[in-house]
């Protein structure tokens, strides 16, 4: 019996190992590079002769403030976008008739708008609100541009919650708003967690809004700093790779924290 199981899993396991090696290889190269001195960097796939931690010092030194900005932008933006997604998904999951469908359709069309289109009008908008180069401005923008996807995601999640629960709550004297805040939302932890992972990654990695709408140290996020390492005439690969590795830590931690819930919540009990 045991050997049969072993035989059955041997092939898939080896495929997975090969895939994992391929997936990890570029990151290993990145990691090795982050430990090379400038004179060693010309030999890309060789091991570093000695570990050159100064790249991390340079990266940290130059990222410093922008790393904090990224956290200050991402955390509230994720919370707001989840909330807006929830308050927009809730009615759309429960409304009957054509009205809800039209609104839903209308909001979803936002998913196909490339963000490059909006940047100039957006710049004017944010400036006239007095939010140019400010962290609250970034909250607003990230929340607004998350509306279509978060609505889509949360509506689907809510739609999978049995409708009988809603009707029972109303009979018990709950208002529709009360049901949402007191029962539905607290019961949606897994869905919110799954969306939180997707949103953290999207917002943390945004570059377009960052370079269009922020200009000074007080609001510029870490992706703009990384772009600086990467796109000038002379690319400093050592610090660039160090900065990249540092910057993916927060998203990674978020993922590890929420991954259990992610698996449960991603499809909103789609297997019902």
């Amino acid at each position: 019996m045991n050997t049969a199981v072993a035989r059955r899993t041997a092939l898939p396991f080896s495929i997975l190992v090969v895939a994992a090696v391929i997936f990890a290889a570029p990151l290993v190269v990145a990691f090795l590079t982050s430990l090379k001195s400038p004179s060693e960097i010309t030999r890309v796939i060789a091991l570093p002769n000695e570990l050159y931690f100064q790249n991390y010092a340079i990266a940290y030194d130059r990222m410093g403030r922008s790393f904090l900005n990224s956290i200050a932008i991402t955390v509230p933006s994720v919370i707001f976008s989840l909330l807006v997604g929830a308050i927009s998904g809730y009615p759309l999951a429960y409304m009957r008739g054509a009205g809800g469908r039209v609104v839903y359709f209308f909001l979803l069309t936002g998913m196909l708008v490339p963000f490059q289109i909006v940047q100039i009008p957006l710049f004017f908008l944010i400036r006239s609100l007095g939010l140019y180069d400010s962290i609250p401005g970034m909250w607003l923008v990230h929340t607004a541009y998350s509306v279509p996807f978060c609505t889509f995601f949360m509506r689907n999640f809510f739609a999978s919650v049995p409708r009988s629960m809603y009707e029972a709550a109303l009979i018990d004297g709950c208002t529709p708003a009360g049901y949402f805040w007191r029962l539905l939302l607290p019961a949606s932890g897994s869905g919110l967690a799954a969306l939180a992972i997707i949103q953290s990654r999207a917002i943390w990695n945004d570059l377009l809004f960052a370079i269009t709408l922020t200009t000074s140290d007080k609001a510029t996020p870490v992706t703009a700093t990384i772009a600086g390492f990467a796109s000038s005439l002379q690319v400093e690969y050592g610090p660039l790779m160090a900065a990249t590795l540092i910057s993916l830590l927060p998203v990674m931690v978020t993922y590890l924290l929420f991954q259990k819930a992610f698996v449960r919540g991603l499809l909103g009990g789609a297997g019902k």
């Binding site: 570029p26 890309v44 796939i45 923008v141 919540g265």
Partner: protein, 304 residues
Amino acid sequence: MPNFQLMRRKFQTAGMTHAIFLSLPITLFAVFYVYPIVSTFNLSLHSWDGFSPTPKYVGLRNYVVLLNQSRFYHAVLNNISWLVFLLLGPTSLGLLLAALLDRGMKGESVFRVVFFLPFTIPAVAVAAIWRWMYEPTSGLLTTILQSVGLGGLAQNWLGDPSIVNFALMGSMLWWTTGFAFLVFFAGLRNIPVEYIEAARIEGATPWQVFWKVSFPLLWPSTIVVLGMAAVDAMRLFDIVWAMTNGGPAYASEVLATQMYDTAFGRFEMGRASAISVYLLVIAGLIIMPYIHQLAKRVQDAEAE
């Protein structure tokens, strides 16, 4: 029956609550989506360098000029090949990895992290890493091919106009498969064990179990993944711009990068806006049926 009256009142207030709830997202949508799009459309009817005080009205000329440029069609075709690739590539690889991992495999959590890790990296960094992977003579990819005796397969990955799109797709596969993998992985976990056990008892092979039982039940996950892939294919910008700028000689250009180059590389804002509008229309034609399908599922949910 006082309960019925209470319920009716509740359902009436429900309409009100729904309207209040929806007002915020609709406002945000109108301000941040509708207004910029209208203003882009308006700009596309003008000739403007981006700096001078007065754009000049030219009607539909920008649209007509684009239709006469082979460069424009080339970008449209590239977007379409990206669409096909993103629908098939990361989706099937993600599904394969998820299906293989869905059986209490040793080191499951390690695999899960490794496959997802690339997805968390910013596009500029992905581009910088892959510029090396694809260095044509001493990069990792060429070196590995040579060391296993397949040196003949090594290419001028990013410098050959007929190869560059495939090379970009390769890096995209690495970058985005993690998402598809996770969604499918979650989807498979949501399938009740009893279904699978039942099929096994009836003597189905694992292959049959997957295609006859698991796969049909994965349809909701598949919809999510395919939809996001289609959206990404139309919006595609970062990875192409950061890795090749659309080159060599326009070979890897997609509409979003062409728009960017037209706007800021050549100071033709009106024409760039016209490209945006075309992009929106093409994306609409391709993705609208999908969105329509999603909206229709509201109805289906109600029917339950």
